[in-house]
Symmetry: C2
Subunit: 337 residues, 2 copies
């Protein structure tokens, strides 16, 4: 079933059918005949053949880290809404499907083979950042990355400045007189980044942290993270001097820390202040303060950047910075009041 069948059925040429399909100038009567034929035969135009000629697929490739975390989900959703309005379709792939790095390259090539009009790379694993590889991709098709790696400057990026967010948290806690602040996190680049800022700020304030102020929870971003964190914090509380505040690098660990504190008979924020990160529904549920990553804004900024590239307005790599906000829910207090 193709455009030729429709042309035959309607008694016109394929060119005319094509014009009807593409809003070209066609006599109303002719148009009606063609549309009738299309409906009658349940015809759906073959977009691949069209793309082969026009060079525009109306497809965007989205490669994200994982799909089942609130970050990726909200990002993809925001991107998807905006692009669906403009009639783009989305290839969505999570790179954790296969072996990370390797998989990433594979999926990106796959996107190119599909002649996508653009690629969005959400939170890629840039541990061995190779400008060459991504650069080659970016040369062939508009590419926007969403990440928090300062060193990437030659590719369109939407950067959420986690260091700045962490800075804000520390300012808030330090201003409240806190000097003994535990840092609970799992692993990964952005976690290291937060820990650095945390350590620097404390040092600057004259109270350099000790190793036992850091709690690493390996499974801190999984379902088990709550329990693991609860146990880790409980143990640490038993063994070490009690902090006046705890920072957790995501809300799952925030919930875990909260439970550990409550179980130990400590009140929040009277005895210990708690500040978390990500501002997901979990911090909402737990009722504790958290750093908001502006997830919706990130999606919008990404789409805007990508579209301006697709429409060829600019070909130079740009960077859009977004600053996290602190969302206060009364889980911290000033030691001076």
């Amino acid at each position: 079933m193709n455009i030729l069948d429709i042309a035959a059925e309607a008694g016109v040429s394929t060119a005319t059918v094509s014009r009807v399909l593409n809003d070209g100038r066609v006599a109303p009567a002719t148009r009606a005949k063609v549309e009738a034929a299309i409906r009658k035969m349940h015809y759906f135009p073959n977009n691949l053949a069209r793309t082969l000629i026009t060079g525009k697929s109306m497809n965007i490739g989205v490669l994200t880290h994982s799909l089942t975390n609130i970050f990726s989900m909200e990002f993809v959703e925001a991107v998807s809404h905006r692009l669906a309005e403009l009639d783009y379709r989305l290839f969505v792939t999570s790179s954790e499907a296969s072996g990370r790095e390797e998989g990433e390259a594979k999926y990106l090539s796959s996107f190119l083979s599909q002649k996508v009009d653009g690629i969005i790379l959400h939170d890629p694993s840039l541990v061995n950042y190779d400008s060459g590889f991504y650069g080659e991709i970016a040369r062939q098709v508009p590419l926007v990355m969403v990440h928090s790696f300062p060193q990437v400057t030659d590719i369109n990026s939407v950067v959420v400045d986690q260091a700045l967010g962490m800075h804000k948290v520390m300012q808030h806690l330090l201003a409240g007189g806190h000097r003994k602040i535990w840092h609970v996190h799992n692993t990964g680049f952005s976690q290291t980044l937060k820990e650095q800022v945390w350590a620097e700020e404390l040092t600057k304030a004259g109270s350099p942290p000790s190793p036992e102020d850091v709690i690493v929870v390996p499974g801190g971003d999984s379902e088990q993270g709550v329990m693991e964190t609860e146990e880790a914090v409980t143990q640490r509380l038993a063994r070490c001097e009690r902090p006046t505040a705890i920072f957790t690098a995501n809300d799952i660990m925030g919930i875990g820390a909260q439970r550990a504190l409550l179980k130990a008979g400590l009140r929040i924020p009277e005895d210990v202040s708690l500040f978390s990160h990500d501002n997901t529904i979990l911090s909402h549920i737990g009722g504790f303060s958290s750093v908001d990553m502006k997830r919706a804004s990130v999606g919008h900024a990404t789409v805007d950047l990508l579209l301006s590239n697709i429409e060829g307005k600019d070909r130079e790599a740009r960077r859009v910075y977004l600053t996290p906000d602190l969302v206060h829910r009364g889980s911290t207090r000033s030691l001076f009041s």
Copy 2:
């Protein structure tokens, strides 16, 4: 940049390049030359042109209800993993992007135009189920639906039998002597289904429910759901006879109900038993029992069904039933013990 450029660069014909690309029989020396040319020129084969001929796009269209809920995403993730292994790509679209029904049709047509090899319809809005429309789609391409609508029988389906799950919950609670059981839910078909089973079972047990045993929380599936549920349950507790058990139709409402109970000074399960639905991380966090929807199994069953269709093993509509399991976390007790 196309296969002709590579052929020229390597000094062979396009057919030979094609053979290299498709693992055809080629002399090692020739293959090496071609591969060198491909690498040198950063060539990515055009899959659209290939699909035009082979009729196989290696693309699957996935249409889901919403992207920002744990259900859809775990489903998509499971499907995505399995299909990525087989080198399929996924178009992922959420129908809530536009106006429901209308959008659904639009995206499905779009998939057909993209010549996807198969379509997965997750939790579609079948309120006005029109066998004709979906049937027409299914006639053109393998289609699998995931839903809980008993009346759909002419299309491949993976059905999670929520009624049976609800039945199990009621059996459990009734066996524990509970007769005054509140039912907290929001709206939607599967919610109505659960309420029906709940009412039937109670009636059969000789204790037909009264209207005030039902609490409807309109925003029960959003972030505000926790608060809304907490308030609704708190009010109801103040006004009405206290139940011995509460069932909540999802975990967000489960958390809300839990908070309302605790705030009212009631212990779980000593004073009131709590059973929730969906078994997401939230029930894990809240530590209450919940109905597990076997999300991973659903994904796998869907892929299996789709693939068997794509490979043409069977052309007859099949249905795969999955039964939810109860996950007990000690939030219910028997009134007899």
